[in-house]
């Protein structure tokens, strides 16, 4: 764990330094584009974590592995946070670019729906008292969601191009300069580390809570006193 944290700090500092200081200013957007170092990795993570959650859920469902169930549910809130960050930074970025806080842009819209999917998972887990049952429910829902996400994403793009025309292609980065790309990838890596750290912390709490009657937990508590 300390090893993970130090790796995370190192990579984050490197990524932020590269992104905020070393990378050149964009000729069109000035410095405001630099928010992509948060926005883009968050958006990647939001999808990545959903897939991890579904895979872990499926493993838990099929082989009844408790650890996989715990990983699945511990991922949900971290994923929801990344989705939320992606939405907020997207909207902050949109203000100077489009002049409003919110545009019904395809990516932002599908990100918003993804946030709803995450909230559904978290809400369902909270609503079911028996946590083992709840894990199975969450796994089923995450699997249904993961099948639906591509369809939702595709449909939103379709809807967007029909209603707005290609006005938002500004967002596409035609070719990104290496000095911009490296910090971006570093940030993506750093966010992955953060996810693993946060998820493991949550998983630990979840595991202790579930096994609070088990002997090893009691030993742990009496040992630490």
């Amino acid at each position: 764990m300390p090893w993970l944290v130090s790796a995370f700090v190192l990579i984050t500092v490197a990524g932020l330094y590269g992104g905020l200081v070393l990378a050149p200013t964009d000729y069109q957007q000035g410095d405001s584009y630099r928010i992509i170092y948060i926005h883009v990795p968050s958006a990647w993570m939001s999808l990545f974590i959903y897939v991890v959650m579904a895979v872990a859920g499926a493993i838990g469902l099929v082989w009844h592995i408790k650890l996989a169930e715990i990983v699945a549910i511990s991922s949900a809130s971290v994923g929801a946070s990344f989705t939320f960050i992606a939405l907020v930074t997207g909207s902050l970025w949109g203000k100077p670019m489009w002049g409003t806080w919110w545009v019904w842009d395809a990516r932002l819209t599908s990100e918003l729906i993804l946030l709803f999917l995450y909230l559904g998972v978290i809400g369902l887990y909270g609503a079911i008292d028996d946590k083992r049952t709840a894990s199975r429910a969450v796994a089923i829902l995450a699997l249904v969601g993961v099948v639906n996400i591509p369809i939702i994403h595709y449909s939103v793009i379709w809807w967007n191009t029909l209603h707005q025309g290609p006005t938002v292609t500004k967002m596409d980065k035609p070719s990104i300069h290496v000095s911009m790309l490296i910090p971006l990838l570093l940030m993506a890596l750093s966010f992955k580390f953060f996810y693993v750290i946060a998820m493991l912390q949550r998983a630990r709490v979840e595991l202790l809570q579930r096994e609070r009657n088990a002997q090893w937990v009691k030993n742990l508590i009496s040992g630490s006193k």
Partner: protein
């Protein structure tokens, strides 16, 4: 008895039950008509405005009506223990459950098609788009029942499942809303809508094949 017989017995049973309860058929239908009546009252009866929003309004209302009717899908079977008996049948649960979903659609989804032309007239939709509206409802509402069934199956054991159900189900309804609403809109402007219809057909086929599996798994989970 054979699986086919069991499948049709379930459909027949649910249709008979719906006929004896009646309100199950009437409620979503009334809700559908009522919501659509509210729109002109809320935003004004300007014909061009109404015409522009008609496809979206009809489809959003259909989504809400479908969601409202979902609870009745497994509720009474869960409460009186019939669901246990269905799960204990040696036949695959997913097939039996598909029978229940089909019966539920016949009772709550199909009637929407019957009143939709009336509402299209209320909202001043051009006649040439009426056929497409009916076609999208015919293809889209079964998907709403199928996807919705997953949500109810997950929440039927909860005392307050209603709120969480909408959170689970509505985001998954987005593709149907987009393609169906869009098809009707295009049709009113006289544009071809083959692509949207084809996509709706493939979504329906996918939902028919895939949805019963998570529904069966979720019911097994809810029953314990």
């Amino acid at each position: 008895m054979s699986l086919t017989q069991a499948f049709f017995a379930i459909i027949r049973r649910d249709l008979v039950l719906a006929l004896r309860r009646r309100s199950e058929i009437a409620n979503p239908l009334l809700f559908f008509v009522l919501v659509i009546t509210l729109f002109p009252l809320g935003i004004g009866a300007e014909p061009r405005l109404l015409q522009a929003i008609a496809p979206g309004v009809i489809w959003v209302s259909a989504l809400l009506a479908a969601m409202l009717s979902l609870d009745s899908l497994f509720r009474s079977d869960f409460d009186d223990g019939s669901l246990e008996q269905i799960l204990l049948s040696p036949h695959p649960t997913s097939v039996l459950v598909l029978g229940k979903i089909i019966a539920h659609w016949l009772v709550t989804g199909l009637p929407l098609l019957v009143v939709a032309p009336l509402l299209a007239v209320f909202l001043g939709m051009p006649n040439n788009s009426l056929g497409i509206l009916l076609l999208t409802l015919l293809l889209g509402t079964p998907v709403l029942s199928l996807i919705g069934a997953i949500g109810v199956a997950l929440t039927v054991g909860l005392r307050r499942g209603g709120m969480i159900l909408s959170l689970l189900v509505l985001p998954l309804y987005v593709p149907v809303l987009i393609f169906a609403g869009n098809a009707v809109q295009m049709a009113s402007s006289g544009l071809p809508v083959d692509a949207q219809i084809n996509i709706l057909i493939s979504i329906l086929l996918m939902a028919l094949v895939l949805a019963p599996l998570p529904v069966a798994a979720a019911l097994k989970m809810s029953i314990n």
